[in-house]
Assembly symmetry: C3
Homo-oligomer: 218 residues x 3
Amino acid sequence: MPGIPRAMPTDNLLWLVLDLAGTFAFALNGALLAVRAERLDIVGIVTLGMFTGLGGGTVRDVLLGALPPATFLDWRYLAAAAAGGLVAFVLGSRLDRLNGTITVFDAIGLSVFAVLGAYKALELGFGVVQAVIVGAVTAVGGGTIRDVMIGRVPTVLRSELYAIPALIGAVLYAAAYSFGYQGTLVALGAAAVCFVIRMIGVRFDLHAPYPPGRRQGK
Amino acid sequence: MPGIPRAMPTDNLLWLVLDLAGTFAFALNGALLAVRAERLDIVGIVTLGMFTGLGGGTVRDVLLGALPPATFLDWRYLAAAAAGGLVAFVLGSRLDRLNGTITVFDAIGLSVFAVLGAYKALELGFGVVQAVIVGAVTAVGGGTIRDVMIGRVPTVLRSELYAIPALIGAVLYAAAYSFGYQGTLVALGAAAVCFVIRMIGVRFDLHAPYPPGRRQGK
Amino acid sequence: MPGIPRAMPTDNLLWLVLDLAGTFAFALNGALLAVRAERLDIVGIVTLGMFTGLGGGTVRDVLLGALPPATFLDWRYLAAAAAGGLVAFVLGSRLDRLNGTITVFDAIGLSVFAVLGAYKALELGFGVVQAVIVGAVTAVGGGTIRDVMIGRVPTVLRSELYAIPALIGAVLYAAAYSFGYQGTLVALGAAAVCFVIRMIGVRFDLHAPYPPGRRQGK
């Protein structure tokens, strides 16, 4: 492997803000789901929120050999994730009427994480296939860890269009990058495609294909 | 990051003994819980004991980028954890009358792991926030992994005063360290506070706060 | 630790073929189990197949501090694992009559992973105890992660002779290696012993010992 810079592509203020907003939204959303699914105390709720917000980036950095994880080194990510978990603990079910807003922020997080994950892998010298996998893992890893910890089969494995938009966003960006287009506009475009597909999936309740011969209904 | 020494602060014989005793107690306790919860064979019981004894330190070293994990490199930790699992396998329910003693040793493990985890993070140049998180993760990580593996929502997320004393111990030590007090006595003091709070929690069946509007009872 | 070469002992074409066949078989088998146990979409099935095929090697490389994981760097392992998951998705229950063949390939994977895991640890300068643990973890780690993700207590912890043959194969190879015998023939011999014990266990439905005083039946 080439030298490992350990820097996130967040020198750009826009990306930093989007990345932190995504971390906060993931943590908030993850903690809310945990509150509804299980009887947890403040430790459990904040912990699951932080796992949801930071888990994807941590797995990404294990796969990239870029330890310690950037999400752990930078206190702003820790603070954004802890804030998301604490807000979910304090406000809880009163956030229900904000469900639409939270879904939008969650989709922003998904898109930003997918593209930034792929970007980090490519910058570290990994191939396109690895970058796509890492992008998707960054985007869906946190929610997967949360679900496993509360004993649920991860949502991403069985329903909703969640991993597919992340994969598409990562593929688009990795393809553009390998042709020499790696600027902010290209990255924003790839993230926007991921975001739109995710929101269309939410709106029309789309799902990834099920095995042949099996009904899509419950 | 500064150079990574990869040494545990266990040159001190007292700490080494406490750390190994904690590892043994965690493994014994973890394996006993596994025996009661699920029908496991010898492989499962010893494995879950070792995960409980060594899991926290392994996650700690992933977060600190200090791989290979110290718990894996040093055969004494492997032996202490395997011994705990084997004793649980052989003696099983006959250990029930030792429950009080095992709880005390488990609390020792919690306290030692929290302070040593924070110490290692600080020695490697991490900040106070990271050190506190790492201290708590070292203390509760093993039990969390065990619970997830047998399909239970981790106890630490929903009941008992378990993570809170670890956090307090790690905060106390990290604060003292950042003011220049990092000697053995200070560390022992922080561990003792963690231990006392944990034992008070066990004695009076205390819990961390639940979300507003929810009853504390089942 | 000595310098970390990060090379798999797969210069040898035979080992490479066996390793890839094992990865494919693990992924196929893991995805089939996931299809039967849970209602998963294509993302879930292929993901669980890849986790089963690549998970053991990933945990191995975390423990050995040899990140990024070799299974992730080399596209051939990614392709073999993805192919296994896709075949399981497309053919699904039609593979039932191939159960015997799949079990044989799975046992090949178990044997190859156990010996190659131990080999990698020894080549990196780890001790015999560590090499045996790493060999067993490489062999059973993928299936364990899959089971945890779909909310099952890992099979390896409670039934079948699965971890024991892997441990025996790793012990045999590590012992031979430490006496200076580390050639391909020795490794093949250790893998063959693991394979034969596993197949005997399947044929006669053998189990690892349960705790004293507990019946072996359900």
